[in-house]
Symmetry: none
Subunit: 323 residues, 2 copies
């Protein structure tokens, strides 16, 4: 693992970097990518931004988003690959994975716990709420002036990954940074409405279907919901509409561990975990080959929905006495 | 209107102040009351805190809340009445209103626009997100050390009135203050969970039932849901569980007018209206003998659920061209 200045100096010396985030891009991944991309561009660097997956409609408002190449990497002479908010190569997606071998220098900037990130330069700091916080530090070091566009991207990164400053990862520093970003002209109410206020009708239909499956275990500490592929197709929903569903079992009063089961193609089930105060769900997800944060993690498990559900719940129940 | 220092000096000189907020106390009113109360107590003043209305269960976690006298004013020799988050005397409630005449000095600290507040000392600043922000400034001036209890109250005041830093009123200063409060040991995740995160299972069951009835009209501008008495009884829900349901049709992307129909006893239907940007729902509610604000209103209409629904929707559709 490198220290901050080593990584910042490496970036400073690159001339034609290619930047990316992770598959199924979220607010932190996209906001970080765009803020860094716009920042490095303002320094005169030849910046290329790529995403293996399409940009969720929700994030179409992000300044500069139209410059992200989706699903392909333009041919170019890249001297550095900068990966933000993604510390395992699998989360680059098949399209971008080859870049790790073809670009001479790989830089990772992330806030996910990771013992062995895959870059030549790695800056992992899991004490921040969002990778966007780290990008802000790098832009400060590189003396990039935070204009309204960059600030809007950084703010989106921070506000999405901190749950609007509600999660445990929100530190005094998170608010300090938000303060500076609002100072730069971020339109707080507009952004909040775009990010948290409106939902496509498909999301509400999915929520309805998911709530129909809501269960709470007898001890009251675990709540879960599930979503079949059939239902997703019936509603005509896509990945983006599924985001945030996990919050609903999490909302149930008294629940410590929330789980969302989602049927995937190829006989697999995607499992998402959230915990409130005690349970380390990163550890729980690792039992099934996944991972993430202490309070938010996930894994993909082979098997039928009902089987996976039974297996995961059995493991989860071990965490609670008398459950 | 007085300046900040005049008001702060007046408070500094009081010895036995009685403090209150407004009727139907909310997070800003209670958090401000308690923060100021605890702060002045730590200065050695003889502090009495009163509320005309009961404290909502949600706020039972606030440090010091057990010291608020509810529904009565203990007899005492008060040299000052300090009213926070309330600039019209009617919002004191009948129990507390007499204090305005019996206590020699009345001080108002508030962030609601008001041309003629009723105190001898008035500090009204509508540029802040919450009265809690002003209380924090006063405590700073009075050199009160912000301990965890005071910080928790101030944070609650700010986070509730800024909608978790999402409303237009959130300024760089709001985040600066939040940063300091988190530094003082506010437990962000716990508080957010208590205030925004948790819901009784009945609320989620009701949401599920309500979403099953979600409809959007062809033009996409009106969305509505309904709730039968049978369903409410089946779930074992009460009034408090119904709060916030109207937000869901409002969330639907593109919808301008959201309506919630709720069957009541005695062959009546309670209708709630919300609009986003254009429609004056106060006017719409008045057609049916109700009223309220421009963006939030309601009415109670006699008739069967399906009849009332058809009638109200017919009226609502007149507001949209081609609907």
């Amino acid at each position: 693992m490198n220290d901050f200045i080593e990584v910042a100096e490496a970036i400073k010396n690159s001339r034609s970097p290619v930047l990316c985030g992770h598959v199924m891009p979220d607010g932190d991944s996209l906001g970080s990518l765009l803020a860094l991309g716009l920042g490095l561009k303002s320094m005169g660097k030849e910046v290329t931004m790529v995403s293996s997956d399409p940009i969720p409609e929700l994030y179409n408002f992000l300044p500069g988003v139209e410059n992200i190449h989706v699903g392909n990497v333009p041919t170019g002479n890249y001297d550095m690959l900068i990966v933000v908010d993604c510390s395992v190569p699998e989360r680059l997606g098949d399209t971008l994975l080859p870049l790790v071998d073809t670009v001479s220098t790989v830089v990772i900037i992330d806030h996910h716990v990771n013992e062995s990130p895959f870059g030549q330069y790695n800056y992992i700091n899991s004490r921040v709420a969002a990778t966007g916080e780290l990008i802000m530090d790098f832009l400060d070091y590189l003396k990039v002036k935070l204009n309204q566009d960059i600030a809007t991207n950084l703010y989106t990164a921070i506000v999405t990954d901190s749950g609007s400053f509600r999660y445990e990862n929100t530190t005094p520093e998170t608010h300090q940074k938000a303060s500076r970003l609002v100072e730069c002209g971020v339109s707080v109410a507009r952004l909040s409405n775009l990010i948290f206020g409106e939902q496509p009708i498909e999301s509400l239909r999915l929520l309805q279907a998911a709530l129909n499956t809501l269960e709470v275990c007898e001890c009251g500490k675990i709540a879960w919901m599930s979503m079949t592929m059939e239902k997703i197709q019936e509603i005509g929903a896509t990945d983006q509409h599924l985001e945030g569903l996990i919050n609903y079992p999490r909302k149930v009063k008294g629940v410590e561990l929330a789980i969302m089961f989602r049927e995937m193609v190829g006989g697999k089930v995607k499992v998402s975990f959230r915990s409130k105060y005690q349970v380390d769900v990163n550890r729980l997800a690792r039992v099934f080959g996944g991972g993430g944060h202490v309070r938010a993690s996930g894994c993909t498990v082979e098997g039928e929905l009902s089987q996976v559900q039974a297996m995961v719940l059995a493991e989860a129940k071990k965490l609670f006495r008398g459950c």
